[in-house]
């Protein structure tokens, strides 16, 4: 018996330290500032062990049964802790509370175990000094092993989730062995065995599915069923579906919902299109979903549409996936459309072609590399591609949530000598959304629109061009490559919302 119980001490010590290290690593990884995370986690863990040790004196009878129960619980809590933390990180405001609760709980349980074991050993008529010496020796060897193996072996080759399950399994196996070895001495042994076996099965399944859990933790961020997920070189593309709608997310940001994207795309395309008569050659920068192209194809006078989108995965997906081609009406495979997969800035710099209408539908300026596509330098390159009569439209984030960002786009367009006409519309999935029309000569508000629109009319545009008090123009700087001020505005304004 003692050898078995001492082995148990060894396993408990190893597992206990591993859970602590996992929590520390995970917290540093998710929250940053590793010094603080490790210090507070070690502190909380050790303190909780003290609490556990204190309460161990209240366990009077059935020491072995208590030991087994606690062991199963440690396996369950410790084993699933990292998965739980990964899964809840995005979802709860008070992630730290859950983190410290799990650490505290594991600490209390581990703290209970060692004193209990010592008492079990005491009953087997060992000398006290022998017990103390052996138990602590195994305890500290276990700790050493854990601290050496964790960074060298487990983190690099197993990852945090799998490591956590792995040690949970160990704890549970110890519980099971004790159950079977000391079957005679345990009451309710059937119940104990059943719970130990079920926890073991659960942990083994978790261990096998660790990779799935990692991606599941991402999928939990989406309300609906994910029907497509792929990382291209540039972004993570996710498509979700429920009974009512299809949604596209890029890097976790909603790009459109099939229920109301018509509002967004009608507002993007038609005010500019209808303001000029002789638009034949159109350029779209971004817009790899082909939905703006679908709107453009309602004009028979258009002869060529050039779409420049960085991401081949995106345009291929919207050329081939039947759900998506039914949404964009196969626009990307229309013979009038030429798709070029390259960087828009680079392309604009090296192109001599002239266009009558330019649609800019880039992702929001949430980072410095996209921010470049909203600078005066970029707009100057675009101006060179515009014929004298040409019109340009830019999707420019929400004037309600991010007024500085929106008006900064407007100001930057003006700074390169363009006349602008800002407007906005309500898209339920996005909220109030803004656009800026720009041209080298004065802009004419359209008198008529193509017939089969669901949203836009001559009257609705008048409202769209009107900015109520809470969205009115604010003073901003011009966005330039050497200040990237728009990214700062955007982060400041959207940071408050998210």
């Amino acid at each position: 018996m003692p050898i078995l119980l001492l082995f148990a001490v060894f396993v408990i010590a190893t597992c206990g330290l591993i859970y602590e290290l996992i929590a520390g690593t995970l917290a540093s990884y998710l929250l940053g500032d590793s010094v603080t995370q490790f210090s507070t986690i070690i502190g909380v863990y050790l303190f909780s062990m003290g609490v556990g040790s204190y309460f161990s004196k209240f366990v009077e009878k059935e020491l072995l049964a208590w030991f087994v129960k606690i062991e199963i619980l440690v396996g369950l809590v410790g084993g699933t802790s990292s998965s739980i933390l990964f899964l809840v990180f995005d979802k709860v405001a008070s992630f730290r509370i859950i983190l410290y609760f799990l650490i505290g709980l594991t600490g209390v349980l581990v703290g209970l175990e060692i004193p209990l074991l010592m008492r079990v050993l005491e009953k087997s008529k060992f000398e006290f000094k022998e017990i103390v010496s052996k138990v602590f020796t195994f305890d500290y060897i276990g700790a050493l092993l854990a601290s050496v193996l964790f960074p060298l072996l487990f983190v690099p080759y197993m990852g945090l989730i799998r490591t956590s399950f792995f040690f949970g399994v160990f704890n549970t196996i110890v519980a099971l062995i004790v159950c079977y070895q000391f079957s005679d001495e345990l009451k309710h042994k059937i119940a104990l065995k059943i719970s130990a076996w079920s926890v073991l099965v659960l942990l083994v399944i978790g261990f096998i599915l660790s990779d799935k859990i990692m991606s599941w933790s991402e999928s939990m961020a989406y309300q609906d069923k994910i029907i497509f997920a792929k990382s291209s070189h540039y972004q993570r593309i996710i498509l979700t579906r429920n009974k009512r709608e299809l949604k596209l997310f890029l890097n976790g940001n909603l790009q459109f919902s099939s229920t109301d994207e018509y509002r967004y795309h009608e507002a993007l395309v038609h005010p500019g299109m209808a303001s000029r008569q002789a638009i034949k050659n159109v350029l779209i920068l971004g817009g790899g979903d082909g939905l703006a192209v679908r709107e453009l194809l309602k004009y028979s006078q258009i002869q060529h549409i050039t779409l420049v989108d960085l991401d081949t995965y995106m345009t291929d997906l919207f050329k081939k996936n039947p759900l998506l081609t039914s949404l964009n009406q196969g626009s990307l495979t229309n013979p009038k459309v030429k798709v070029i997969n390259t960087d828009a800035f680079q392309w604009a710099r090296n192109t001599n072609e002239q266009f009558d209408f330019v649609v800019i539908d880039f992702p929001d300026p949430s980072n410095f590399s996209v921010g470049k596509l909203y600078t005066n330098t970029f707009y100057r390159e675009v101006c060179k591609l515009m014929s004298d009569e040409a019109v340009l439209v830019v999707q420019s984030t929400s004037p309600y949530v991010a007024p500085k960002s929106f008006w900064c786009v407007n100001k930057t367009l003006q700074s390169v000598g363009l006349l602008t006409q800002p407007y906005h519309c309500y898209v339920p999935s996005f909220g109030e959304w803004g656009y800026v029309l720009a041209s080298k000569s004065a802009f004419h508000v359209a008198e008529t629109y193509v017939p089969d629109l669901k949203f836009l009319t001559k009257d609705s545009f008048k409202q769209m061009a009107y900015f109520p008090k809470d969205m009115q123009s604010v003073q901003t700087e011009t966005n330039k490559l050497n200040n990237q001020i728009l990214v700062h505005y955007f982060e400041e304004e959207w940071g408050k919302v998210q």
């Binding site: 092993l145 072996l153 680079q346 710099r349 490559l481």
Partner: protein, 555 residues
């Protein structure tokens, strides 16, 4: 009570043995698994490039008179003006001559490319610098430089207030600088995050003091500190600053904040390759107080930069005379008489000796080279006083941007605790998002020892040793960078730049060194200014061309 408990009672010995065996098994398992998954520890690709010092040593050997005699002269070139060295000074001199209508000159360089310290490399992803990599927007009084920038469309025009409008592709893009301090990245290089109020106050006091110097003028009506340095005030009160070190200057002003001292030391190492304790206070202040650039579309501290660094400017300077440059040619000896100059050179590509007969020669080479190629008796100065700081530059190709939760790649990325100056991102100026590999240019001034010792140590180290040093440094702020590295190439710049040590700038020696010899041999190099920056090299080149022009019109 378990079955057979007593049977299994451990003796101390077996207990220890079993524990050891257990540990052994675990370690064995650990290493075994590691070995299976990762059979060989990956060695990082790359090599030490540019055997500069080897060619340099060739010069040392060839320039002894007997050896030169042994070589049979096989090629003779006659040209009115010979310019030795295609660094910025040599190229600037040539540009000025060409602009003045004197087109009969030849430039030679021992390397297989032009640029000197404005050297660059290139891989499938991007060009990258091997040394100098930026130009701060210049003072608007430096008309010659502004004119050059206009010629190259780096300045696109002037606004109504007369301020230059810079081409925004060339202005350093945002975000520019970040500092890793106390476990996190902060914007800018001046320590700010998590430091005490008194540290902050000292930093702002220091910057205010530097601003006073920036605005100060001498009794001679000149700026106290200026670029080019030759135009600055000669007032004793400023010249005296050259007699003490930058560190002494700070302590005289009761400035002792750890963070301020770090920052000033960083700046000295960045611009001069030596520590603040070795930098003259005049030079140290010069770094902060000599720039008064203003622009229509940039902040006054803005810089111009390119993927290939200042090689962009070297190429721009040489636009109109590319055909007059002969590279891979090592000048070993220069002699002259009343009829003209004769340079003995060695073309190491064709392996032939070359005799170049010229009317006049511009030595756009550092003084330690001049000392080897000019007859001993003609050298009027003590060239030992010209000390050069050695550097290590590494270009590191990575397949992933080093991203931490709180950071994003900037142009200049520095860690407070690092011995290096950090790295710059060579792709920073690229507007395209279509990048899948990045090149980080890592700068390490070898300022921990005297230049001579540091140089010797540096040459002995292998690529593997350097790579390990660099990775240890980088991993202290980018823990996961190792696996993203595809290649590390290194260059050791044994004589990287002139070091403005205490007393050097105000020495007679430095001033004497730029005097021509018999109106035949002219000197142009930034070491004559004592500060190794583009503007000074450019100035030296122009100065020497101006000095030479009167003789040309006579002949």
């Amino acid at each position: 009570m378990g079955k057979g408990a007593m049977k299994n009672k451990l003796t101390r010995k077996t207990f220890l043995l079993r524990s050891l065996a257990g540990l052994g098994a675990f370690f064995g398992l650990s290493w075994g698994t590691k070995a299976i998954l990762n059979p060989i520890k990956p060695t990082i690709k790359g090599r030490i490039l540019g055997a500069n010092h080897q060619i340099g040593h060739l010069l040392r050997n060839l320039s002894s008179p007997q050896k030169a005699e042994e070589k049979q002269s096989e090629e003779i070139i006659e040209v009115p003006i010979l310019i030795v060295g295609t660094g910025i000074a040599g190229l600037s001199a040539a540009r000025k001559l060409q602009k003045a209508g004197h087109k009969n000159f030849l430039l030679v360089d021992l390397e297989d490319h032009i640029g000197g310290n404005a050297d660059a490399g290139k891989n499938a992803t991007t060009a990258y610098p091997w040394a100098a990599h930026y130009l701060p927007i210049p003072n608007n009084e430096d008309k010659e430089l502004l004119t050059f920038l206009e010629e190259q469309y780096i300045i696109t025009g002037y606004n109504s207030a007369g301020l230059p409008i810079y081409n925004e592709y060339h202005l350093c893009q945002s975000p520019q600088e970040r500092l890793f301090l106390k476990g996190r990245w902060q914007e800018g290089l001046i320590p700010n995050y998590g430091i005490s109020e008194s540290d902050r106050k000292q930093i702002s006091d220091f910057l205010a003091l530097m601003n006073q110097y920036r605005q100060a003028k001498g009794t001679d009506g000149r700026w106290a500190f200026d670029i080019p340095l030759a135009l600055a005030s000669k007032d004793e009160v400023y010249q005296q600053l050259d007699k003490i070190s930058m560190t002494d200057f700070l302590s005289q002003h009761n400035l002792d904040s750890e963070y301020l001292l770090w920052y000033v030391n960083y700046c000295c190492r960045d611009d001069y390759g030596i520590t603040s304790a070795n930098t003259s206070a005049y030079a140290g202040i010069h770094y902060f107080a000599a720039r008064r650039g203003k622009a229509d579309n940039a902040e006054s501290n803005a810089v111009l930069t390119w993927a290939e660094g200042n090689n962009f400017l070297a190429k721009a300077l040489s636009t109109d005379f590319k055909d007059k440059i002969k590279t891979k040619t090592l000048v070993t000896q220069v002699n002259w008489n009343s009829d003209g100059v004769e340079a003995t050179a060695y073309d190491w590509d064709k392996n032939v000796s070359v005799k170049i007969k010229a009317q006049r020669i511009i030595l756009a080479t550092p003084q330690f080279v001049n000392q080897r190629i000019l007859p001993k008796e003609s050298i009027q100065i003590s060239t030992d006083l010209f000390q050069y700081a050695p550097w290590l530059v590494a270009n590191i190709t990575v397949n992933q941007i080093p991203i931490e939760r709180d950071g994003f790649l900037c142009w200049d990325n520095v860690s407070y605790n690092s011995t290096s100056l950090g790295y710059i991102s060579a792709t920073h100026q690229q507007v395209s998002r279509d990048i899948d590999k990045w090149v980080l240019t890592y700068y390490l001034p070898l300022s921990h020892k005297s230049p001579v010792e540091a140089r010797k140590d540096a040459i002995k180290k292998t690529h593997e040793e350097w790579t390990e040093d660099i990775l240890t440094d980088l991993e202290s702020f980018h823990p996961n960078i190792r696996e993203t590295i595809e290649e590390i190439n290194l260059k050791i710049l044994g004589h990287g730049m002139i070091a403005p040590m205490i007393g050097f700038l105000s020495s007679e020696n430095r001033k004497l060194a730029s005097r021509n010899i018999d109106n035949r041999i002219f000197f142009a190099h930034s070491d004559l200014s004592g500060v190794s920056i583009f503007e000074e090299s450019f100035y030296q080149g122009n100065r020497v061309a101006d000095e030479l022009l009167p003789y040309l019109s006579i002949s």
